[in-house]
Symmetry: C2
Subunit: 386 residues, 2 copies
């Protein structure tokens, strides 16, 4: 096992009816700005529930945080907070709203150009307005970690940041709040959480059985729950709850503590989102199978373990078992209605050059746990994903 | 899945050489009281390492915290802290030292008789002196939770408490600090962590696959690592590290979040320690197999799952598989050199009456996840454990 630090102070408030707990979770004297994406939080009644729980506390709502949330929109919220003297933020939504709220919370008291928070990846954050979250879309794990990704539309840049000041004070996870999600968003959530887990697991062995088995348990849970989410006539509470908890545990620092990590799939995927507007999770489903195949040598031992423990693959030569494990992964994504090739999004060989150029422009020269995924290797991965 | 809260703010600092991190973990202006058990922390050089890391900070050492730490000893530490104006506590040891430090930290500023903290199970704790821990004996999980157990020698009472104020600010987990432990303490650690896990897992299904698979992963890790710890000629770093991390994860609130729990084994075991001085973990090994057999009806579904996933038992009738799972558990404890019957400690039927009387005296009338383990059921469990 590698040395590690694990420190996650977010208070998780899980279960049906828990939005009412905001009454005690939010400081009594707080002036609260609620942040949301589009109209759905209002339409579904979630916002009404939130406002009721806030009771007498003065509050207002900032609406319009986009998927892949922008610096520009975030700075409008910062202005509203400064002008209105809000001292507690409440993100109501999915990963985009929570990511944006983390950035906004850090930007409010930041001196100078807040974009430098992104340029420095959050290392220059020294304080943040306290904030909590009400999760409505399980996928990114942002509700229980200290990271976010913000896009500067004018600059065409999408950068990640993190800080010890950027953990939500609490996150309310009520599985019934996912009942109105369209199937493609549920599928995105399953695939996003699956790939987060794989990226902290499928590297090389460091004799860390607790982390390995936790990761395998999350993957097995997602494989079990995922297809049922799409076929159910009515939402099933436990399936929603288990997706929600698995997605949170997939990226709260726990399974990645003390083990190597490989975020190359995310880095290549980010460029596909930026250039071609493909949903984040769907970019991961395109890149991962091709990446695992390209890196089957360095990842050999863990691919065999993954095949056996997660997919029950125990026969065939080692290479056959690895191929089978990758193909099962691909088939799982496809069974969730998610394409695993660029052609599934109407894209062909013409996009490879641009994506590779963007990776180079963003300094992604040595990705992966071995730092061996150079732009040339990324090119081979993309070509295998056509 | 059941509704739950999960909130664990302890910062884990894991790995070889991490005691040096105390230099930045302990506040620079702190006046530190180091709390230890016997002479081993001094003898092994761990205390010297701690003092070096504390640098210029004024500090002193309180020595003599016993296994099953006492109220009486704890109050001597409280006096020293009040008299010396110490404002940061550092527990260096295992579960007993850390449990005592939690109580001491809460008692320092407590008004009135500090024993009432135990009588109220910690509900009346409103503040605590901040404290950290350096773990030398992996077993109880106290390094990453907010609970403790304190014995009042004069009153003959052993009571548990917990409080949101009682989490360590940090815990340093350096696996090399376990290298000097005698085999029986390593075996105790394995069994203690194993039973902690079972008590949060072997109840009835609530469709919580993440928690189930995490628990199973901890059990599998302990089964894999345990025997090697006893047979190794020289300490193996990874085995020590994996025991340490598994024991921490077994009782930090995570695997028990959202699922029923059954702490009857602990409650019955506490009486065996109090009356007959048997090591805590060894009492659990006596009670658990008999309890699982007694409760094989209510625990049926989970016992079958446990047998299949943890021990690979897939053939035979359901009852045969359950019997096999319980016997594999017993054999595992015995393979760790730990007796699973009262007779292994030279005790016979004569102790049953007293233990049952003590359970009644301490209000343990309805133990277990179904609240069905009455004193009469506890009696049957003890008789089956002769």
């Amino acid at each position: 096992m590698l040395n590690f630090d694990f420190h996650n102070p977010t208070h998780i408030v899980f279960g049906q009816g828990r939005i009412a707990d905001l009454a005690k979770l939010v400081p009594a004297a707080a002036k609260v700005l609620i942040l949301v994406g589009g109209a759905s939080a209002e339409k579904t009644g979630t916002l009404a529930e939130v406002r009721t729980a806030l009771g007498e506390r003065p509050h207002a709502t900032f609406s319009g945080i986009e998927p892949n949330p922008s610096f520009e929109t975030s700075m409008k919220a910062v202005e509203q907070i400064r002008a209105g003297g809000f001292d507690f933020l409440l993100a109501v939504g999915g990963g985009s709203v929570i990511d944006a709220t983390k950035f906004i919370a850090a930007a409010v008291h930041f001196e100078g150009d807040a974009w430098s928070i992104l340029e420095k990846r959050g290392r220059n954050i020294t304080q943040a307005v306290p904030f909590g979250a009400v999760l409505t879309l399980p996928a990114t794990g942002s509700e229980m970690n200290n990271g976010g990704v913000i896009t500067h539309r004018a600059k065409g840049a999408k950068l990640a940041f993190s800080s010890v000041h950027s953990y939500p004070k609490f996150s309310v996870l009520d599985p019934t709040k996912t009942y109105t999600l369209p199937p493609q968003q549920l599928a995105n959530g399953v695939v996003d959480a699956f790939v987060h887990t794989v990226e902290q697991y499928l590297t090389y062995p460091v004799n860390a059985p607790v982390q390995d088995r936790f990761a395998e348990g999350l993957l097995q849970t997602l494989i079990e729950v995922g297809p049922r989410l799409l076929t159910a006539q009515e939402p099933v509470y436990d399936d929603r709850a288990n997706l929600m908890w698995a997605a949170t545990m997939a990226l709260n620092g726990l399974i990645g503590a003390g083990v190597p990590q490989d975020w190359a799939t995310h880095m290549i995927g980010h460029e596909l989102t930026a250039l071609h507007g493909i949903d984040h999770a769907r970019t991961l489903a395109i890149v991962l199978p091709a990446l695992l195949n390209e890196r089957r040598g360095p990842k050999r031992a863990k691919l065999l373990q993954y095949g056996e423990r997660v997919w029950g693959i125990t026969t065939g030569t080692e290479d056959e078992r690895i191929t089978a494990a990758i193909e099962r992964t691909r088939a799982f994504f496809e069974s969730m209605g998610i394409a695993t090739r660029l052609s599934g999004h109407g894209l062909g060989a013409e996009v490879v050059d641009t994506v590779v150029a963007q990776l180079e422009a963003h300094g992604m020269m040595q990705l992966g746990e071995q730092r061996e995924i150079t732009p040339a290797v990324s090119r081979r991965i993309l070509e295998a994903a056509l």
